[in-house]
């Protein structure tokens, strides 16, 4: 553009970053959430390199030690350092959370928008499919899938995605249905956009904020789901460190007094779910232009 006046509104990426900084500083809770998210990402990326012990190395002599200077989170029944396992487990749990959410957003989100936007038969078919999945008790469906296809991480991700499919369809469908007759959608039709193009370039970006909130919640549930599966023996294969399975195995030791085995992975799980929930609201502020005054 010709005029490069000192404009109060920087353009493009700079605008988003400036706005992001603004949102973080404005709402402290969101600031904390971002801090927590950063911690999770660092643990996920650098985990294996920064941990004091090898998460898989067992040391039966030092089994079941309470938290001490050498082992900050104590050791488990095989003498493995719980602190190292909790840190290294971040990568796997974040992967489970992120991939299952991405998968369910792609499938459920798009299907929801299509059924909300096109209505008619598309709406009925997708509605019935999501009803069928809804009729299944969520957890049993996950168990069925994992039991049938084997308890690999991919199957856990697929199972979580399928469970949350109806939720995403419902949210996307109602948001798309509201915007179907909006002025700017009619305008897009006037200027020759095809229905699918309108759906992807106009409707989808506008419902991103709401979907963002939903995605952040589901990330929490994805990890809890993996933990539940581990509790009944269908979770991640040993000896891979994963919060869910560590809590499940540690749970048996609560009564006998070794509280730390289950507590620390439990706290890590809580930390992650907290972060995702608080993040959801923060993300909504950033992505939602209305707040970008």
């Amino acid at each position: 553009m010709t005029l490069a006046t000192a404009d109060t509104h920087p353009r493009g990426l700079a605008a988003t970053l400036a706005h992001a900084r603004y949102v973080i500083s404005d709402n402290p809770v969101t600031g904390i959430a971002f801090g927590m998210f950063l911690v999770l990402v660092v643990c996920a990326l650098l985990g294996p390199f920064i941990v004091p012990y090898d998460p898989l190395a067992s040391d039966t002599a030092a089994a079941l030690q309470a938290p001490s200077a050498t082992h900050w989170f104590g050791t488990d029944n095989l003498g493995r350092d719980i602190f190292s396992r909790v840190i290294v487990a971040t990568r796997l749990d974040m992967a489970i959370a992120v991939f299952s959410v991405a998968l369910v957003f792609a499938a459920g989100g798009i299907a929801g928008i299509a059924s909300g936007f096109f209505g008619g038969w598309t709406d009925r078919i997708i509605g019935r499919i999501s009803d069928t999945i809804m009729a299944f008790p969520l957890f049993v469906l996950a168990m069925g899938i994992v039991a049938a296809l084997g308890n690999t991480v991919t199957n856990i991700v697929i199972a979580t995605a399928i469970i949350n499919f109806p939720l995403y369809v419902r949210v996307a469908r109602s948001e798309a249905a509201i915007r179907r007759q909006a002025g700017f959608v009619q305008a897009a039709r006037l200027t020759g956009n095809s229905e699918w193009r309108i759906l992807l370039t106009t409707i989808l970006p506008n419902i991103m904020p709401i979907m963002m909130v939903q995605m952040s919640l589901t990330m929490g549930y994805a990890i809890l789901n993996a933990a539940g599966l581990s509790f009944i023996g269908l979770g991640v294969r040993p000896p891979t460190p994963e919060w869910g399975i560590m809590v499940a195995e540690g749970a048996a030791y609560i009564v006998s007094g070794e509280w730390w085995i289950a507590l620390f992975p439990g706290l890590a799980l809580m930390f992650a779910v907290f972060c995702f929930n608080l993040l959801g609201d923060g993300l909504r502020d950033i992505v939602d232009p209305q707040r970008r005054t």
Binding site: A135, F136, A147, L224, G228, I254, G266
Partner: protein, 337 residues
């Protein structure tokens, strides 16, 4: 209202059919080999094959499916291999246990989460709002079985307040004679308050565990819908007309805010049924969840099929109730079906 029920059932039929088909497929994919199990440990190859023909497992899948559906039509859900009992009998015995636990959990969650949601909305941004968000999120951020075990450890093992996690009733009590299958209600009908108290004590901790897990979605939904209703114009009119805060918040705002909450109850209930499976394992609760889990793990698919069908029907009935409740609260829903 009849139109409402008619159209809701009409939409439920295809999803029920979907459930039947998917269960059939899912169970046929389970790794275990029923015939081998049936033939017993020391069986030889040909005796396994013989059992397989006897059970009709060698027929092509579509034929098996037709058999299954025709048996279903006659109400025969087959028998479970692991327990030998007919599935229909087991489900009818175990369903009330799970239903009682899940409903108790749900009612408890509603009793806590809805007031929380309202207070958080009315005093938005205050410490109450943040406290509500922190507590409900904390509740949902721990796996349900861990909360259960923790509660057992604290309330039973350490403090001794709660009774032993030994299922629905203390060993030395006999179950009240079944009317609804819900021990609480049956014992009240039988005027047997001692059993009622014992059953209530047994139900308390598992129900709290489930409730904690369901707080977050309900509280969040209540807060969101209360916020939007409180900023609506008719609330402003009510305030301008000088109505007291309680009338404005409860009779005007709250009743409108309950509508979206009621619709999410369907989702929360099936979400709880899933979590219930784990709670049953922790509290040795003779519910339908643990029964299905056992069957699933041992690839004994008759109970799994029966269980999922029962859940599907329960889900359809539940949605019907929610629609009716919605119709009761919101007259607009009553007019156009």
């Amino acid at each position: 209202m009849l139109k409402l029920i008619g159209s809701r059932l009409a939409t439920a039929v295809p999803s029920l059919i979907g459930v039947v088909i998917v269960t059939f497929m899912l169970t046929r994919v389970l790794p275990g080999d029923t015939a081998a199990y049936f033939a017993g440990p020391a069986a030889t190859a040909e005796s396994i094959a013989e059992i397989r023909t006897k059970l009709g497992l060698d027929k092509p899948l579509p034929v098996q499916f037709v058999d299954y559906v025709s048996a279903l039509a006659k109400g025969d859900l087959g028998s479970s291999l692991s327990t030998g009992q007919p599935v229909a009998a087991e489900i009818s015995a175990r369903l009330p246990a799970s239903a009682e636990l899940t409903l108790a959990g749900l009612i408890l969650a509603l009793a806590i989460a809805v007031p929380f949601g309202i207070m958080a909305a009315v005093k938005q941004g205050s410490w109450v709002d943040h406290a509500c968000r922190l507590i409900t999120t904390a509740g949902v951020s721990l796996p349900v079985f861990f909360t259960g075990l923790l509660l057992v450890y604290v309330f039973y093992f350490k403090l001794g307040w709660a009774p032993a996690p030994l299922g629905r009733l203390d060993v030395f009590f006999s179950a009240p004679e079944t009317v609804t299958g819900f021990y609480l209600i049956d014992s009240l009908i039988a005027r047997d308050f001692e059993t009622f108290r014992a059953a209530l004590a047994q139900l308390a901790v598992p129900a709290i565990t489930l409730a904690i897990f369901a707080l977050a979605p309900i509280a969040r939904m209540t807060r969101a819908s209360m916020l939007s209703v409180l900023s609506s114009e008719f609330v402003r009119t009510a305030r301008a007309a000088g109505l007291t805060d309680t009338t404005v918040i409860i009779t005007y705002a709250f009743r409108n805010a309950m509508l979206p909450v009621v619709t999410t109850l369907g989702m929360v209930f099936s979400f709880l049924l899933g979590a219930n499976v784990l709670v049953e394992k922790v509290f040795a609760w003779p519910g339908i969840g643990s029964y299905a889990v056992e069957a699933l793990i041992t690839s004994d698919y008759a109970p799994v099929q029966g269980f999922v069908l029962a859940m599907a029907i329960l889900y359809v009935i539940l949605n019907l109730l929610i629609d009716i409740a919605y119709g009761v609260i919101d007259p607009r829903a009553r007019s156009e079906a």
